[in-house]
Homo-oligomer: 348 residues x 2
Amino acid sequence: MTESGKTERSAGGATVWDVASRAGVSAMTVSRVINGNTSVSVKNREKVMRAIGELNYEVNVAARAARIGTLRVGLLYSNPSEAFLSAFLVGALTECGQSGAHLILEHCDNLKSQRKAIDRLIDDGADGILVPPPLCDSKSALRMLAELGIPSVAVATARPSPQMSAVRIDDYEGALTMMRHLLALGHTDIGFIKGDPEHTPTQLRYQAFIDAMRGAGLDVPAERVAQGMFTYRSGLLAARELLGQPTRPTAIFASNDDMAAAVIAVAHGMHLQVPDDLTVCGFDDTPVATTVWPELTTIHQPITEMARGAVALLIEHIRSQRSGHAYDRRHQLMPYTLVVRESTSGTD
Amino acid sequence: MTESGKTERSAGGATVWDVASRAGVSAMTVSRVINGNTSVSVKNREKVMRAIGELNYEVNVAARAARIGTLRVGLLYSNPSEAFLSAFLVGALTECGQSGAHLILEHCDNLKSQRKAIDRLIDDGADGILVPPPLCDSKSALRMLAELGIPSVAVATARPSPQMSAVRIDDYEGALTMMRHLLALGHTDIGFIKGDPEHTPTQLRYQAFIDAMRGAGLDVPAERVAQGMFTYRSGLLAARELLGQPTRPTAIFASNDDMAAAVIAVAHGMHLQVPDDLTVCGFDDTPVATTVWPELTTIHQPITEMARGAVALLIEHIRSQRSGHAYDRRHQLMPYTLVVRESTSGTD
DNA sequence: CTGAAAGCGCTTACAG
DNA sequence: CTGAAAGCGCTTACAG
């Protein structure tokens, strides 16, 4: 516990001056390079980049923030599940921490409060706004943001607007991957629970189900599809509908985890063993997926990473806007993962 | 979107110099006051405090971090529920963000990896360590930390060690509050599901149940108490045990939400309506409490706030240690709340 | 395209 | 107990 440790442990320790002298340029040039400023000769830029690599230089975000003023990232949210919000916040806060930015939160419900929440965010000095679901699918919210011209990034929307940057997974491919898993297990009679029609992923996940069934030469009778709303309660109803048929499907694909958890509860109520008597799977990989028993096979949507990416995109946008550059909206696709747990098994 | 906005919106804008000139002292004295340094005359301290209030001064954490080096807060975690971890991270990251500190995570399972994880945390420059459950109840982990003499704070342990600061709720009083709710609803035949015996809150929550029953002049037959492990699955087993008796209790108090969610699932399986046929309640108020239907009546444990408090305590400890002061361990009790939702009702 | 200077707000020695 | 000076690492005008 010596006092000397304090400085020694400082991350790397190289400064813009170290990089500058090694590269044979001024600190200013180094600063310009690390901030993506274009007015640096290719030659100098390369020299600086090399020096940065050799010295293992990392910018001191605290010092930068001290000079530049702390960036404020606004988060406009309505009523996502708590689990989603937590995962999202972890990612957003982590990235903000690393960039020395502050996160400010604002909640809203209806249209009128959307307007107010956005105004409050801007009054509080938000330099850009993060828009998670379901707001990222709200036309009115997106329009307001566009009119204000404030940098914003949509997260986990399935149909991103070209006007705005977005970070998402491919919901269609994700659902297709789950279907391949079920088909590979030998299931041919599969039920599906749709999500809230207001959310953009709903249609894509359903379409993947239909396409996969057709692709396998299988019929989809109307009684194998139930409407849900992405809530546990709606899953309860949908599961009773699907399992109350004269003949039962051997598997149910619920288009999110909350509804899949409800299917398991209903199945248990009917003395059906999961997965022996009924295979169940969800989508999203939220905490409930590992809370219930058996744990859910699901598609992992990397919410935390997506939030990090969204903050990074937002900061990039704000930066380039400040230095007067044009900024092209970016649509970033993140990788999803099929997570096989105990709720799915073969048909034999 | 004028450039001028950038500076205007800066938080308040008052600096140590502003405060100093208003208080008629030097910037140094102001700095000493805001850092809790003792060597300032009472008179000057008061003058500074007044000036801070009048100017609405807030220290610029970015500038401080630039000068002092970024503080690193280590988080040593093993296998809490994801929901707990998320809520905890949100609080810890928020507080770290506001203090300009960085959070570094390290995971461990068994004893050997505990040692390694702590070493890694220290190698990575952790200035202090946060210890959430269940590690905060691990004697070996606490001993290692004590031997190293590194500032640490236990969170949500029911029996805090006097050697270490701790932030927690009163588990006994919390459980008592829930019992009063059940008793007030008219329940006299109440089942209880105990938690993992290795966790310190387990005993206290159980004791409160026993004491409340005795206090109301009610018996607690052995078959009204089942052993759980705080997991959903153990709750499934415990619920079957409790509800499989010739006569059923009218209410079940599960000592956490995961187990309470399992009780609801089992009850539904037996065609019992919750809360009409069976009242169910949990403890902790984790996301699952609002995911299941009906939503759970539970005791809200303010994990996010507790994590914030823990980080604040830790930073205070590190600061005073650095400036050579002794630091008294602090045990902070946070307020819990009874949250009444739809899973509990009266007996008539 | 490039750099020398001054400064962001705070704190660490160093004096008194 | 108190303060004048120097500096943390970076960036914003200002020159060239």
